[in-house]
């Protein structure tokens, strides 16, 4: 059976540009097709030429996109329209709705603001999305006759899914990004005990054990509140979809409760569009929002107003949610440049920042940030990091592993050093292999799984009924023989249902089908005739009494050795054993001749009887 192969083209020992190539049961599947936010050159897209020399469509059986974040879908139009791929692409319905919105936004930033050329066009995004097939949660989608995929709720953002991929008896689970704790607008990730051969898990927070969410939220609110009380301005860089909705719900309810008047703004356009989508995909949010949506939509905010660029120069305290989340471009960066020199201001990074971004630099304590156009900014404002990314922490990752019971784990989408730590922990706690290949590195995961074949129902029923019969006879005949007396206590310890049932039949491999049938059924199926071998042994003994006396003494002897139920007297000079072996006794003056006859099928019993008779009635 072929092994499973997995090669990250991105997100191998790294965060960003998720793109993992797997081969399972002879099928080639691409898991996510993301871009790297930290690069502006070739490195931002996965190296598709690595995959195959020929066309991608011929090589790949399907592409699966886990959620709409650009580090998971950002390279999709590039791959499908510019490199060329016409095969199926699978994602959930919200992902299909939101993906093009984000792609278009990124395209605008790249082409219109940075002036890049040779970037994909709006038309390409549209054409790309036409190739998408949507999957519902838990629906089993048959990609072809052998490959099937099934989506599970991942919680990370609206529409995020984990995918279970199965070919024959081999299976793997790709988590994408997931969150094991429910938040204010999404539920927790969930998967059933599917026991995959391989679990490919993200590991963004491989070493973090986060304190309770309530503490984090309180902390966040306090920091924001303190800052605006002091008259400072708070910048919260966010991605338009996902965390911003979560934090908006949080701040909106807090402002309401505390009766605060300080303005909260969020950037127009994208976030507003996003809220509309959230309202339509209510079935993907958490229980509470779904229960109440008919009367109160949680995505209609009371205190949060649209932001205008000119507001950033307004005096006085304010809170601004601005995109993008890693301060690598756009409005959030513009606001940051303006507010960074003032020590009374604050920036709160609510999520992970990829290496190379301004966000990453200031989180690492940079006091001065240089920009491409040779300008630089002094960083005097307070920099706070609060993990509001909806990723599973170490505890959550372990919880998922415990829940789905994989035979192997592979870590992606995390930092190398942190992965090492988690990898050791997984191997120790679950006693399974854990892989963490780098980009372009292939892990080969050996799998051995059971073979599924057919068995004839009469044979199966016969096996089960025989097992219950023998356990009955074993206990009833226990008094008769010393031998079974010894085994008796053992047998009682084993409850009947746990007792092993011995199946004996013939396995037939024909036309790629494998089937087990009973021996009698097998002959006609195979089209050959049985050849019966019969053995008759002649044993001459020195017995002078009448024939019936010898018959009866043999009867007694064999009943003792084999159990009374096995031996039957047919006539004065004939016995049968187990209904299939025959013993005839002839008077052969002066002694007697015992004829023992059996077929090859009863070879074991026949030779045993022969030994018994010979050793008892040995001549002279």
């Amino acid at each position: 059976m072929p092994d499973i192969k997995a090669t990250p083209l991105g997100a191998g020992q790294d965060v960003g540009r998720s793109c993992i190539l797997v081969t399972i049961g002879g099928k080639n599947i691409m898991l996510d097709c993301g871009m790297h936010m930290g690069y502006n050159d070739d490195r931002r897209f996965p190296d598709f030429s690595y995959i195959t020399e020929g066309p991608l469509t011929d090589y790949l059986d399907c592409v699966i996109i886990s959620h709409f974040h650009l580090d998971h879908c950002g390279a999709l139009p590039f791959m499908t329209e510019m490199v060329g791929y016409n095969g199926p692409i699978y994602m959930t319905q919200p992902t299909k709705a939101l993906c093009p919105v984000l792609l278009e936004d990124m395209r605008k930033v790249a082409v219109e603001r940075k002036g890049e050329t040779n970037f994909f066009t709006s038309g390409m995004i549209k054409d790309c999305m036409k190739k998408v097939i949507t999957v519902s949660l838990h629906e089993t989608v048959q990609v072809d006759s052998e490959l099937e995929i099934k989506a599970y709720y991942a919680g990370h953002v609206l529409g995020a899914a984990m995918f279970h991929i199965r070919v024959g008896s081999q299976s793997l689970v790709y988590t994408g990004d997931y969150n094991m704790t429910p938040d204010r607008h999404l539920g927790a990730a969930w998967i059933d005990k599917c026991r995959p051969d391989l679990l490919i898990s993200e590991s963004t927070y491989a070493t973090t054990i986060r304190d309770s969410k309530r503490c984090r939220e309180r902390d966040f609110l306090k920091k924001v509140h303190d800052c605006v009380d002091r008259g400072g301005k708070v910048l919260i860089p966010v991605f338009a979809l996902g965390r911003v909705q979560e934090l908006c719900i949080l701040l909106d309810t807090y402002w309401d409760r505390m009766n605060l008047k300080v303005p909260i703004y969020f950037t127009m356009g994208l976030a507003e569009t996003a809220n509309k989508y959230y309202r339509m995909f209510i079935t993907w949010t958490n229980q509470k929002i779904r229960r109440t949506f008919v009367h109160r939509n949680m995505f209609d905010f009371k205190h949060i107003k649209p932001f205008d660029k000119s507001y950033m120069d307004n005096p006085g305290p304010m809170v601004v949610f601005a995109t993008p989340g890693m301060l690598h471009a756009g409005l959030s960066l513009a606001v940051f440049k303006k507010w960074a020199p003032n020590a009374s201001n604050m920036v709160i990074m609510p999520g992970y920042c990829v290496q190379g971004t301004v966000g990453h630099k200031i989180l690492n304590g940079a006091k001065k940030v240089d920009f491409e156009n040779r300008t630089s900014v002094e960083v005097n404002l307070a920099v706070e990091y609060m993990s509001f990314s909806a990723h599973a922490d170490a505890k959550g990752i372990m919880q998922l592993i415990r829940h789905c019971e994989p035979k192997n784990v592979m870590l992606v989408h995390g930092e190398n050093a942190k992965m090492d730590f988690l990898r050791q922990k997984i191997m120790q706690e679950f006693n399974i292999n854990c892989y963490k290949p780098g980009n372009g590195e292939t892990s080969i995961i050996p799998v051995s799984s059971n073979l599924d074949i057919e068995v004839s129902l009469p044979l199966l029923k016969h096996t089960i009924s025989c097992a219950s019969q023998t356990s009955l006879t074993a206990s009833s005949s226990s008094k008769d023989t010393a031998a079974s007396d010894e085994t008796q206590p053992k047998k009682q310890k084993v409850p009947e249902s746990k007792k092993q049932k011995v199946l004996h039949g013939v396995l037939i491999m024909k036309n790629n089908g494998v089937r087990i049938v009973g021996v009698n059924e097998a002959w006609s199926e195979l089209g050959v005739a049985s050849h019966q071998l019969r053995f008759t042994e002649r044993i001459e003994v020195d017995e002078h009494g009448p024939v019936p006396a010898l018959t009866s003494s043999l009867h007694t002897l064999l009943s003792q050795k084999l159990g009374a139920s096995q031996v039957q007297a047919v006539s004065e000079y004939q016995l049968s054993v187990a209904d299939s072996l025959f013993i005839n006794i002839h008077d052969d003056e002066p002694g007697k001749t015992i004829l023992l006859s059996w077929t090859h099928q009863d070879e074991a019993l026949g030779s045993k009887l022969l030994d018994i008779i010979k050793s008892t009635y040995k001549k002279g």
Binding site: H138, T140, T273, M280, I453, V455, Q500, L533
Partner: protein
């Protein structure tokens, strides 16, 4: 495999199938035909109804006084209405492993099955079926609970023979049950497990059930019940027309061993498309003449299409200003839910969400105030919003409870008003009987999108099941149109049929089961080739059974003893005598003498006291010298093929 039919109403199906020691209930419909025998429940005390004269049969005792009332020569029961639950007694509901619900019309009897019966199974349905089915159940309960009756009449059931028709023909009224409560709805729905289309759900480890789209209403499905080797398809409430739900998935239903088909069209004489047209025209005509239009309806279903088509029609003829009211305790919920279940809708409706549009135009209509949902007539704002002429959509289609009762009383004496019957379930003459005399104009335009007989026949021809099973009534013309011999399910092969309280053996004989073999056992096998492409091996292994799954593993040491008794191999074919003699010689047995007799060869080894008799399919070794037997056995096995 057996089928038990628990419902006499094919459109309110409730069947139980037993297969592979699993008991599955297919749908759980509530037959409401009984309510037509009851007086309507008015929202406020109705002079007219309380003035109806009471009626007592001649030989009855005085206790019957007040239970029955007469209206235009028809006798009605003056009591909260009662319903016909699925037949009990045929199946022990505590043994049911799972209830599969096809659509929200087929679940209203759930509390009668799941509550107080020891039911321990799961109820499986799609999410829209759960949410909208809950609305249907809650609406029903709220309608009945908000108009309580002091007295529950039951004695009339003992005097059935003394009553006039049609009440005397009521079927087993003693089994009828009053409506359940909110609490029992919650209790029943706590057993629900949600599934998606094409999701495989395991039942008892023995069967996999899958819901596939049936095209009939939001979240409606047909069912596949599969073991590894058998496939049963259950088709209930399906439509091949293009309306708002996701289209029917036909290919999954193909080539089933058994296809059970039920809940075909109520009103096969009426084409739903032309009825929809007539509906729009009749409503427009009514409001143009200054009359009001009353449309008794369920809180979800075709009503969404009515909103869409009617508003378009009114726009086209310049009547956009006529208000539409949707009055139901769950009106607002129904409108809201329809627009969040886009994944369950037709591709054109689904496509709208990608452009940030609501799938159903009723969202737009409510935002702009053309369609106004209200919980009831008494709800806040209704009286101030209420303008005439208007169009009112409200429950209940039976006209025995709900706001419709009030609207008929209010509008019934004006010939300009019209009442339009679109729900196909209730006969409109029957429905209107307790309101007579009535001058309001009745318009009958039943819209049932489910399969009619022609469509069903066409579908069956495409699905090619090995066996068909249908309700017996589908082989006879409808009761109300006995001459329409075209309205029967005319199939080339006579299907198996069932009727209420009947047990039917479906005659599915299982021959194969699936088993998995562990890799180490597979490697230990020693296959031999009988001929190219045909390999075989004798297998002796330990059978493990868990959760109805079978696994074969190598025998453990404790079982080795048992396996020794079993043959290791089976010889086959004919023995070549020359080959045998040659091999004997090689083993040093050179004194073999071969004798040929008719049909048999006899080889004698004089020195060893051995005779070997060889015929076509058997060989007999007779020896008096035990030492040589095993050697001879091995030589013989070498000469023969074996596996």
């Amino acid at each position: 495999m057996k089928l038990y039919c628990l419902s006499g109403h094919p459109n309110k199906p409730c069947n139980v199938v037993t297969f592979k020691s699993c008991t599955l209930m297919l749908d759980c419909g509530l037959d409401m035909s009984s309510v037509s025998h009851f007086l309507p429940l008015p929202l406020v005390v109705s002079q007219r109804l309380s003035n109806l004269s009471t009626w007592v049969p001649r030989d009855a005792d005085s206790q019957l006084e007040g239970e029955l009332r007469e209206c235009m020569n028809r006798i009605f029961v003056d009591s909260p209405p009662e319903f016909v639950p699925p037949a009990s007694g045929l199946v022990d509901f505590s043994e049911v492993d799972a209830i599969l619900v096809s659509n929200y019309h087929s679940m209203l009897a759930l509390p009668f099955i799941t509550n107080g019966t020891g039911f321990k199974g799961v109820v499986i349905m799609t999410e829209p079926t759960l949410q909208i089915g809950r609305l249907f159940m809650e609406e029903l309960v709220e309608y009945i609970e908000r108009t309580p009756k002091a007295r529950h009449a039951f004695r009339w059931k003992h005097y059935l023979r003394s009553l006039p028709a049609p009440l005397s023909e009521a079927k087993a009224p003693k089994t009828w049950q009053p409506a359940y409560s909110m609490k029992s709805i919650n209790n029943a729905l706590s057993h629900v497990q949600i599934l998606a289309y094409n999701e495989k759900i395991d039942v008892c480890g023995a069967l996999k059930v899958t819901a596939v789209s049936s095209g009939f209403c939001l979240g409606s499905c047909n069912w596949l019940i599969c073991s590894d080797h058998e496939k049963i398809a259950y088709l209930s409430g399906s439509s091949t027309l293009t309306t708002h739900p996701r289209p029917i998935d036909q290919s999954s239903l193909k080539n089933a061993d058994v296809l059970i088909m039920t809940a075909l069209n109520h009103t096969p004489m009426f084409n739903p498309d032309s009825m929809l047209g007539e509906f729009c025209v009749a409503v427009a005509q009514t409001v143009r003449n200054g009359g009001n239009a009353l449309v008794p309806c369920y809180p979800s279903g075709v009503v969404y299409d009515l909103f869409e088509c009617l508003s378009n029609h009114l726009d086209n003829i310049g009547l956009s200003l006529i208000p539409m009211y949707f009055v139901s305790p769950r009106a607002e919920n129904s409108l809201a839910y329809a627009n969040i279940f886009s994944e369950w809708l037709s591709s054109s409706k689904q496509g709208k969400v990608y452009n940030l549009d609501d799938p159903f135009p009723h969202a737009h209509l409510t935002r702009h105030g053309r369609l106004k949902p209200f919980k009831s007539l008494h709800a806040e704002g209704f009286s101030s919003e209420y303008r005439q002429p208007c169009i009112v959509f409200c429950g209940h289609p039976s006209l025995r409870f709900g706001d419709a009762v009030h609207f008929i009383d209010m509008w019934g004496n004006n010939p300009q008003n019209a009442i339009l019957f679109t729900e196909p379930e209730f006969d409109f003459v029957e429905a209107l009987a307790p309101f007579q005399p009535l001058v309001m104009r009745p318009v009958y335009c039943p819209i049932d999108t489910s399969l009619d007989f022609t469509q069903a026949r066409k579908l069956i021809n495409e699905l090619k099941p090995s066996k068909m099973v249908v309700p017996e009534v589908y082989l006879r013309p409808p009761v109300n149109a006995p001459h329409r011999t075209d309205l029967v399910l005319n199939l080339e092969e006579t299907p198996l049929t069932f009727c209420e309280c009947q047990l039917l053996s479906l005659g599915v004989h299982r021959r194969l089961e699936s088993v998995s073999i562990t890799p180490d056992l597979a490697l230990s096998l020693n296959p031999s080739t009988i001929r190219p492409g045909l390999n075989t091996a004798t297998i002796t292994a330990a059978l493990h059974i868990q959760d109805n799954k079978y696994v074969l593993k190598p025998l453990e040491d404790s079982d080795e003893e048992a396996s020794k008794k079993l043959p290791r191999c089976y010889p086959y074919g004919n023995l070549n005598v020359d080959d045998l003699v040659q091999r004997l010689a090689q083993a040093g047995l050179t004194d073999a003498r071969v004798e040929e007799l008719p049909g048999v060869y006899i080889i004698t080894l004089e020195n060893e006291d051995v005779i070997i008799k060889i015929s076509d399919a058997s060989t007999h070794i007779i020896s008096g010298n035990g030492q040589l037997r095993e050697k001879l056995r091995d030589i013989l096995l070498e000469c023969l093929g074996s596996f």
